[in-house]
Symmetry: D2
């Protein structure tokens, strides 16, 4: 379980920051490397930022880009950080591509920079499922792992549930 | 992957706190419930504190108690939080008992209460491996999962390595 | 220096929170009590929330309300938490009222809930200046204390400067 | 109120860290600069580390060194970070030296590195009292400021009280 894992960053709440000059949320750099340091992660990870956007603004072209990068990746195991609002939609697009890889999407409800984030828990979870599960497309949230076709986000509670 | 998981707490760095009156480290209550809330964990977990000690002080009798509790547990999947100094020794005692269960031990290098802890990452990781792996005894640290007989803690770096 | 101090809360970045369901910033409850607990503050404080708004949305009527509350307060020393964008304007309105009280306004560049906030530093500073300075209207930010008529916010850096 | 302030660091709980290899508390570098950055402090501070020790281990020679450094300092306003256990004793030694300066000692009950620290609040408070008070020796804790001869630490609660 120690082969290299590919990690694609797409933005989402994970990486939102607070712009103190303008008093609003924005994206600057990913916090993934800082999170991996905090977790004392010793996995061989190949990290690449594909985009840095709110998943509500993700277009079909963006999703095609994610699918294409997963297809071309040499690594058979991939983790994708993603906004939670449309994470299921991207999982569906990846499943349609029928790649023979283990792909785990994850996100966060609270930005990592805000201290009280679920991001570190979710990242530990996603990297672990990516190592242990067979080929397929999954969403890892709330300590659980769902296959792409059996998950939905509950808009009232923010939790992911069986669909 | 949504059946109940048993969680046994034994103490370790995970749960160390700072005693502000006496200026030293000590154990009070576990932080596990707070960590699960932060991770927005929606797993069905049955949590029980077996002891709250530094793993350097763990005796054979303590280990026998942990093994016995794992044996009697109804749940086929178990996570144990443990001090990292003797986590491998306890894993060996559990393996000797040859239980037909998936048992994942995990710990932390920095107390959860200290902000910069790896605990949340490790907890997310351990709970995920416990759901996905077949029966066996494992140690989950640094984003990796080792079988009980192929792991050692590097005392210089604090990291877990193949043995 | 141990008489009661009046604290008026008006909102501002100090008290902004992250709404994890809608992914935006909002106001819920003040964090002042939590901050005072963290600071182990033992002052006799009479805290009252007057409003909970972004200071860019503060109207003349809101300012009149703040002035009126300061006028009616029994305590001769008052601290006001306020958004930084119009804190100088409110200080001017208070000075115009010519109350024979020590009034210190303070704010934060980063919400307290986000971990990396300057709020706790500013609160400790404002409460201290309020105890030690003679009657007048002041703005306490960046470890400094400015009289109301000699301060401006630098919109580029976010810092407060002599005006 | 914008002249340079001298800051002397002596260690204490303020600067304790957790040694993750040996599982114990220790001193490495001061966190003062990081705390000043977090507080967006814009004061002209001249910071110098005199020692980095637990105040229970502070000797008469250490105190003589602190007094001597305060005497030689060009700045008329001085803040000293200090362990809380013997902070009153050092204040007494400074008062005996009868320097014509404003000297404010402060400390923390929880190490800054542990997240839930009162250190940032106390630092904001001490720097503010140092600017606003006349010459004398003071202890700033719990949001209050005590003259050196009218303060004691309550060993049961950890709070500072009138003596």
């Amino acid at each position: 379980m120690t082969d290299a894992i590919r990690v694609f960053i797409t933005g989402g709440t994970f990486d939102k920051e607070y712009d103190e000059i303008h008093g609003r949320l924005y994206f600057k750099d990913t916090h993934l490397h800082e999170m991996l340091r905090l977790g004392r992660c010793r996995l061989d990870l190949h990290v690449r930022t594909l985009m840095m956007i709110d998943s509500l603004e993700m277009t079909d072209a963006d999703r095609a880009l994610i699918v294409e990068n997963c297809r071309k990746a040499d690594e058979p195991r991939i983790v994708i950080t993603h906004g939670t609002d449309t994470i299921v939609e991207t999982a569906r697009a990846l499943a349609a591509a029928a790649l023979a890889k283990t792909i785990v999407l994850t996100g966060a409800m609270i930005p990592y920079a805000f201290g009280s984030s679920d991001g570190l828990f979710n990242l530990g979870s996603a990297l672990s499922f990516a190592q242990a599960l067979p080929a397929g497309v999954y969403v890892a949230m709330n300590g659980r792992c769902f296959t792409w076709d059996r998950v939905k986000k509950n808009r009232q509670t923010g939790a992911f549930e069986d669909a």
